[in-house]
Symmetry: C2
């Protein structure tokens, strides 16, 4: 976190940064897992940063959360249950509630992320009050080792593969994920900026391909994430195909996006060959 | 142009900026039309800025130039002639040469852009030495009023619709463009960031729809342009459809991109309804 003369800057590298002018810094805490900062910005409303990295802003969080939930939702048989690993802000759970999932288990390692979201993003965090959502504060990796429950969707809504989330991109972890997927179930993970973090996408892709029969990568445009281009990686042991059903739309997601987001630029394809 | 402690920053608004650490500023001139700055950056190589706005960098110029030329190339009958308005760096002309266009007329209003590109981006500007390329230093609007030549493609490779390029987004201009298109010909213009400059996309779209029977918008990811998402708008008086032909690919463009780039996020669709 760098705050100079009322600007919060996220460093994309030693040589590149995006800076948001802020009205106020509302919070800066160091938890057992990470540093959490909360800013009131001019252009993007409230902004949550973890370890100096933008996690969500009021204005554009819809893109990431629609894309990590709605894209896998429309594949295969209509899903009813989901496990979210991470996602302590509640944004993914909120969309799953809207998509009429019947059971949503959300395992977040850092209670402070939930508390901060409840205080500063109440419209998003209210998903935790829904009786279809079970919030567990704990380590997602351990949770899966100790549970036998299977889910139709597993959503890895984590920070980047450095720090506490590193284990969430490994082959061992994906093996555990596979054991918790129902028949035809699908896992999806955020897999970083193909432009600035090609290794995150490559790790997720290689890790998933070593476990799952079918792996697909898709992309979305997120203005407050590094480079503006973000990737997601989906895996399943069954074929994955979009089912015939009228699609709802969000502020970003629609049926065209569902069909177009798997059509990757050449430099992205090369990362997952 | 802001250069503070060896950082060049492009302001996306009063409250948001992207900053590139620079090794050196190689040039800063004020021409009759605009301010031109040239930086040697760490992450993106040489960077050309006009009026404080990134125009191209060595590292990612391929995305913009592939997308403004290769997408319209694959529609309708194979095009042989093209008029470029703007494009003084030579990047669009270079791709048209590669696509085997037989005649390319490039009308750039500011000789200094050409000179700067020849000096600092010689691999790009060398397109002007090709005997299929005719470079004219002059006003594109006036050029079209005084010429009767028709072209299979007209490429509006301009700066944003403030300053010298403002007239290139008007209905009157598109009427002129229409008169210079051959049967089945297509015009394409860059139409700004849908996220930060929605009015540029709306202007291009409305202006084209008032003149052309068919208008299509497509998008690409460009990391050094505001928000990372960029739009292009194509118009024609004939139907536009992708022809059956093996597609070549660039570093960004490929056949998937050709099919996927017209699939627009919901918030972009709303701008062009």
């Amino acid at each position: 976190m760098r705050l100079i003369e009322n600007w919060f800057s996220e460093r994309y590298s030693e040589n590149l940064q995006l800076s948001f002018r802020v009205k106020d810094q509302l919070l800066s805490i160091k938890t057992d897992y990470q540093r959490i900062d909360l800013f009131e910005t001019y252009d993007f409303g409230k902004l949550l940063s973890i370890d100096g990295t933008v996690q969500l802003t009021e204005k554009d969080e819809y893109i990431y959360h629609e894309m990590i939930t709605m894209v896998p939702f429309y594949f295969n048989k209509r899903p009813k249950s989901a496990l979210i690993i991470g996602g302590g802000d509640g944004g993914a759970a909120k969309r799953l509630v809207d998509l009429n999932f019947e059971r949503i288990v959300n395992v977040e390692i850092d209670r402070n992320v939930v508390d901060v979201s409840k205080k500063y993003f109440p419209e998003i965090a209210k998903s935790f009050d829904n009786n279809r959502v079970e919030l567990i504060i704990g380590d997602g990796i351990k949770y899966m080792k100790n549970s036998n429950e299977k889910f139709d969707r597993i959503i890895i809504d984590s920070t980047d593969p450095v720090g506490p989330a590193e284990g969430l991109f490994s082959k061992d972890f994906y093996k555990n994920v596979s054991d918790h997927l129902s028949d035809g179930g699908i896992v999806v993970t955020q897999s970083g900026s193909p432009y600035y973090q090609p290794e995150a996408l490559s790790m997720a892709n290689k890790g998933m391909k070593s476990i799952f029969n079918n792996v697909l990568t898709y992309i979305a445009f997120i203005p407050t994430y590094p480079s503006g281009l973000w990737s997601f990686t989906m895996g399943s042991n069954k074929d994955m195909s979009i089912r015939d059903e009228k699609k709802s739309f969000g502020k970003y997601f629609n049926e065209d996006v569902l069909n177009g987001c798997f059509k990757l630029p050449e430099f992205v394809k090369k990362l997952i060959d």
